[in-house]
Subunit: 287 residues, 4 copies
């Protein structure tokens, strides 16, 4: 199964009889061979239908344009589907926004350099210059765009100009600036963020110190899509690590960094392989 | 989605174009509504196709007998499928064989008593009488069939007689007798065993002592289908737990018990929900 | 190392030079042989000192009464220590309070019946009668004390009477009644509770449904000592389990039950082996 | 607690009464303040005693030379102790040997650049030149020493010359050459290796393919000290990751890489913080 000939179809719609048959008939009649299929319904009566489908294209008898048109007309319209098809050959373009912390950025760059990440990293943008060398060592363009209280709007414009046409996915790899509602709406379900998570949750400054003082026994991280409500978007991935009274704030942060980079890298991988459907404020992850 | 109306179809066959379409068309045309589908191919060219499909039967227009016949004739025969269909309403019958260790048995009985296990436990058979009360407290019939070097063949006959018609699944919950090749062949892919697993593996007696002396840092358990080669059948589930130099042989065994009961209970659940396809000496688990 | 001859000393005090020497000299001079020692300081200058020490008593030259007196006079007083000594031979008495959910209760009873729990379970008290048989099958006394809005005070009195002299530890194994401040203060750091934990946290009714709707990817459990602030006492143990969009509320609850019973059983074990020191609102666990 | 003033004492000896007292008295009388202590005995009668002790040196009244001499004469000799003392201020020198795989190397370099690794990386030696840039980007000297069937002895000599005086720890970060018995004996318990681990174990070529064909559900990694018996030295750390039938050999290797780098980095950290005592062919890890 070469990535060169792999396509992926993501569908969600109101559930009802005959959807799998309609989709698989369409693909079969046009020479596509289904190699992986995950389907899930919230409820057969009045629920919602979700499907991820991988198929092979060597014998496909339609151009891409005709495939889109024909699938829309003959299948999607009938079931009022939200759907996307993507071709693994068209590697997604991925931009990374970062501030000073390098752990998540490094994890992404490394996995990418050893071809574990199925994307082209087109740029890294930072409001600090610290990570310029790190990034350029990977032959990735680095843009330093300082942010102040006064220029936030201009900065976003500048970033949007850089991203234009060069970002199918924007990863916030510990980018410590809040994006405006307008920015977020332009990349709906295309911006992934990572943040630490605690049991119980701590509000306010220095959550690691609060976690230490509260004596928590696990700390975690959550990767999610960014919505206009800060840190409240659809959750993609979560994990935790065990800690003890012996951990200092420094240790807690180190452990937190390690869980953050793994949780985010996995979430990014799922997005790039078209394994995620967002529905309402949650995700269906066909991992 | 009521279990009363849920059916599950497991299919494996040589991969080729049109299989998903053929199956889903058949179901659609007979009023079955697919509510979950997992499909996996080892290779689109010359590989093997595996599928698990859940569907709802309220509008099914065929009797069971006709469904079997019709699916075989119109779909399965064409693709030379290995396939089974099962109806959740027909709870599987499950027999448990056990010796003296009660941890796995207890886990199964408990999960069953709180309806987390989707089966009827028809009997517990043991070569010792120790667990009679434990079992009967759950209102499950207990059969004590002592084993000696001389009566092994008779014992197996007696067990087979008890199982006849009352066991769709046989769980070896730490049953310390080796089953004959003949016995195993009668319940192919229907006997699940659990055994401890170590990194590295230890041969010979008292593996926990060997693990202690070797200073291993994890101990694990493997649940697998029983084949004629002891402990070499298709693996269903594995997990490990971390241990340290502070663990005595007693602690190691306690930790081993806890990982064994969880690994086995999960494997049994997957079997009962028809989530497992055996192919060659491995399993496809659509969990 | 027989439990019959094992004693455990837990100490906390302001840190300063010479504490380990003073304690170990005392024990050495009285014939006690230290077999395990864990020590931890928050800060050598102005911090707090915590120590757990296991020693063997066959050659101890003091009666228990003299040991207490002498250690207090010659060591503890000098460093203004909070300290306890306990003898494994004096098995702790453990009472369990439960409502209708049986998963945590069963886990404790089963581990206890296997002798994995180092205590005498003296009673199970419930505000429902459902679990009477379950408990009595283990030859443990069961007391049914119904609770209504009107008799809460009387119920607590009745429970306190039952516990009096028969409970060194009270485990709330999903006991759905809130204990009064007075009750809690009588068993300070001697009542262990378990509750589910979510990332993020959910307030209000039916947190599992909220978790489902929010699409969380892990659910967890927290075992803690009970203080007058509900669910805010010192955390002893936490763990999580991974979940997905496929999990129904029923599945989430089943997974939640499994993590709850393991987290609580481990916390109870640590308490019984004198591995926990409470300091402020957190725990030091020498596990 | 500054690392500048932290010292660590590791002791093993035959168990007997008074050892903790003797050691803690010595330290107390010379102005050392114990801030962490872990002690463990295999058996109080005829067993073996192990202790790790951290102490603060600002008020120490002995020079290092006198500390060594005095501790040996007044304490260690009496109990026939194997012991080492180290000062965190003397950062250990760490050399890395690597072939072509970069995942473990990168993990170490990155943690080191973040100051999560408490050592000076003095060099990276490789039998290939591929990773030269990667290493030099971190300002670490890189030595390329090609190996052929003919020059193995010369290569080892060359490596030993490079290491001489510049390596307190040698990490084999996927170094695919077997070190000679002579080489290993010069760095006893100072060479750490990482290798993949499977349940069950697979012998022969391409274990990942064998694991795929066997359908294993976990793959793992083991970090251990190198002894003359290949991959049989004392185990320091182990972990596993869950895999499924969907994982290709490529995915298995990716998951294997991720578990390898974490398992090794943690093992290296424990070694550098003097948390490991080797006894026979196993380790005591005071983590």
């Amino acid at each position: 199964m070469s990535l060169d000939t792999t396509a992926r179809l993501l569908i969600s719609c109101a559930d009802g009889p005959g959807i799998v048959a309609a989709v698989s008939n369409f693909l079969f009649h046009h020479g596509a061979n289904i190699t992986a299929l995950d389907q899930y319904s919230t409820d057969p009566e009045g629920g919602r239908f979700f499907m991820r489908l991988e198929f092979q294209t060597p014998h496909l008898d339609l151009s891409r344009a005709l495939l889109y048109q024909s699938f829309q007309d003959t299948v999607a319209a009938r079931y009022n589907m939200d759907w996307t098809v993507s071709f693994a050959r068209d590697r997604k373009k991925m931009a990374i926004l970062v501030s000073k912390y390098d752990h998540v950025l490094n994890e992404l760059l490394w996995r990418w350099s050893r071809e574990d990440i199925e994307a082209d990293i087109t740029m890294v943008i930072s409001n600090h210059s610290d990570l310029k060398n790190t990034v350029e060592n990977f032959q990735v363009p680095f843009y330093h765009i300082p942010v102040s209280a006064l220029n936030k709007e201009d900065v976003e414009k500048e970033i949007l100009t850089l991203l234009d046409g060069r970002a199918d996915l924007v990863v916030l790899a510990r980018y410590m600036q809040i994006l405006s509602e307008d920015f977020v709406s332009r990349y709906e379900n295309k911006i992934i963020n990572i943040h630490h998570s605690f049991l119980p949750a701590f509000v306010g400054a220095n959550p690691y110190l609060q976690a230490l003082e509260r004596g928590v026994k696990v700390i975690g991280a959550t990767a999610h899509y960014v919505t206009k409500e800060l840190d409240m978007g659809p959750i993609i991935n979560q994990d935790v690590v065990h800690v003890s009274h012996r951990d200092t704030v420094g240790n807690l942060k180190e452990k937190g960094r390690n869980v953050e980079r793994n949780v985010l890298a996995q979430a990014v991988g799922w997005h790039l392989e078209d394994r995620i459907i967002v529905t309402g404020n949650k995700t269906i992850v066909f991992s």
